[in-house]
Amino acid sequence: MNISRRQILILLPASAVAWKSILAGTPEAASNYTMSDHWWGMLIDIPKCIGCGNCVRACQMENDVPDGHFRTWVERYHVSDEDMTNPEVISPDGGKEGFPVAEEDSKKYFFVPKMCNHCADSPCTQVCPVGATFVAPDGVVLIDPTYCLGCAYCVQACPYGCRYIHPVKEVADKCTLCYHRITKGLTTACCESCPTGARQLVDLKDPKDPIHEFLKTHPVQVLKPQMATGAKAFYNGLDGSVR
């Protein structure tokens, strides 16, 4: 340690930058994971979602999500074709145990899984007063739990309601896109456990990613596009009534 500090004092300021990197260490991902090679997102295929709640349960198990809070959840919409602006929406316990049986009627039903949209222009990271939440170089929006003050400003700033304050740790928490999995070549817990393939991880920097191909060849939407958040959770078949 002392030796490298002495060297820094002798060498140019450029070496100070190198010193920072040395001290920081590299992310404990797989040794062949380079952040700048990836730009992560998710595809959610509405016509395929059956509202089974597997994703909500799997996320809770994988990430120790506290009860009553959700890193992902499923909403069920019941929409009349005459009035799309007044949908009936339910999400019992986030859809964790599925949904009650619906009776056939003249209106349409569908399920909408929701999660952090890992926005490229995220309004939540913009408002963090200390830099505890950020957009990582590979496009995942993360929270540093050792630095977060728990002020909840980011929770207020998220238009999608995907953040919460962890009741025990008292810091902000949310979907991490299973960063600890995707950096090791696995997929997210929600995608892994979805029985119908309604949720699929996508790497927007990988031209060979079949989901990336899907995004290029199908019309997809994001939630609240008017907010211009650069959301990267893309929805196939998103109805206009979805809030």
């Binding site: 990197s21 404990e28 991902a29 059956i50 994988e62 039903y109 960063y179 696995l186 029985p195």
Partner: protein, 159 residues
């Protein structure tokens, strides 16, 4: 300048500010984490810490490495793309254990598991196979007729 003499107290006040500022700089040097600012306005080491969190779901490739027979049975059926842990739950411990038989996963109860997806509801997509459990099987467990890994009735086989 006598003006300076009469303003001496102001210089003392300013001096307090300067002292406080210098003290602040010193403290800051020691307190700000070393990796802060490495990639942006955040602690660079945070990503590594998050990436090092424990995995609970092994992923279907890990399962298929050993259970290739099941993988083959699934391949031709309707559950081909239903991953193992979607029904069997997180199995990282089992997949990475020295003695997998000691951490054998509990077989899911078909009475609870199957109806979660397959109970008929007007809310589910029309093309999705769904039945009214009470009418469909008269109380018999689902795996009486359907093999979970390849559930089609025409798949044949009692395995």
């Amino acid at each position: 300048m006598s003006a300076l003499k009469d303003a001496g107290h102001l210089f003392r006040f300013a001096g307090l500010f300067v002292l406080a500022f210098l003290l602040f700089l010193v403290i800051r040097h020691f307190v700000v984490p070393p990796s802060f600012g490495q990639y942006g306005h955040y602690r660079g080491a945070a990503m590594g810490e998050i990436a090092a969190r424990p995995v609970k779901f092994a992923g279907h490739e890990a399962c298929e490495a050993c259970h290739s027979d099941v993988a083959d049975a699934k391949k031709t059926g309707k559950h081909a793309h239903v991953n193992c842990e979607a029904c069997h739950g997180p199995q990282e411990k089992h997949a990475t254990s020295d003695d997998p038989s000691a951490t054998k996963p509990q077989l899911p109860d078909s009475a609870v598991l199957c109806i979660r997806c397959h109970t008929a509801s007007a809310a589910k997509p029309k093309g999705f196979p769904q039945v009214n459990p009470a009418d469909h099987s008269n109380g018999m467990p689902c795996d009486t007729c359907h093999k979970p890994h390849n559930p089609g009735m025409d798949a044949g086989g009692t395995n």
